[in-house]
Amino acid sequence: MSASPSVRTRMLSLLRSQWLLLSVIGLYLWAFHKAPERALEALSVSGRTFGSVILIILSVFGLMGLLQVWISREKVAALLGKEGGWKALVIAAASGTILIGPAYIIFPLLQSIKAQGARWAVITAVLAAYAVKIPMIPLEVQFLGWSFSLSRSLLTILSAIPIGLLVEAIMEWRPSPGGKTLR
């Protein structure tokens, strides 16, 4: 009862939003208690790893800022809702690789695209291609190497349209006795 409700809710929301950082800090405290030398080594490995990619991280965020302002989400949405057929699918896969943002921004955006008449395949292809981030490729290369990053990106982009069509087929398949499909 000592803490006022507002303090308590703020602590709770801090716990919920930063649980990963808090648990990593906890792990370090435990590590420093158990094996200080190795904990220090872990900390220096972390620092060195971060130092080796700091420029790339800064660049990635710089590019994301530019992309978000110059390629407006609304324009992409309008384009995707208007186009049909293969063109829409290709644009969807391409825009998935440059659209950036957390789920709570992307899902409502896709919802508006859907409302403008886009197919399930288009929505799904955007989300599938979303696993490739063109601005982040240098970061992936730094950690995983060229051959890994390029083949993973290529395979992901190539699979985006088939995944879209497959999900669409399942979404529109309804075992009804009379007709074949209904939309």
Binding site: A103, Y130, L139, F143
Partner: protein, 160 residues
């Protein structure tokens, strides 16, 4: 300080230069978005890089080899894909972890599945996705995306 990083940063700075020539206002907005999203992500990045150090020093490579290594085959693929499906966060956080696991002896297909499902499968965001598109779509899409992540991982094994 890597050559890749310097080159990339130079290119971005040039892009900002070009951008500011055509619109000061848009460039300032870009810079603000960049700074804000980096600032918001900072705690997560700190946590992930902290984890990378802990993994490298405290996780025995034999353990990673045993759970995520090639010898475990399908199990390691499923584990990689499953870890990615449960995790949330931007791919910027997935790459350092994936790199650490890979250099400790994990099987590349399992790590590829981990990255792809990290971004395209969201167990945590599933209720949100269902709220927007309906439960049927959310389940179908995440299921197929998970399968695709495993398949992409396996294909990576053939390519690499």
């Amino acid at each position: 300080m890597s050559a890749v990083g310097l080159t990339y940063l130079t290119l971005i700075l040039i892009a900002y230069g070009v951008s500011s020539c055509s619109s000061k206002e848009k460039t300032q907005r870009s810079l603000k978005i960049a700074g804000l999203s980096l600032w918001r992500l900072l705690p997560l990045l700190a946590a992930v890089f902290g984890l990378v150090g802990l993994f490298q020093v405290f996780l025995p490579p034999e353990l990673i080899e045993k759970t995520l290594g090639e010898s475990s085959g399908v199990a390691s693929l499923l584990l990689g894909g499953g870890m990615g499906a449960v995790a949330i966060g931007p791919p910027a956080a997935a790459f350092p972890l994936a790199g650490t696991l890979l250099s400790a002896g994990a099987w590349p297909p399992a790590i590829a599945a981990f990255i792809v499902s990290w971004v395209s499968v969201g167990v945590v965001t599933l209720p949100f996705e269902a709220g927007v598109f309906g439960m049927r779509y959310a389940l179908v899409r995440n299921g197929i995306a998970f399968g695709a992540a495993l398949l992409i991982g396996l294909l990576m094994g053939l390519v690499l």
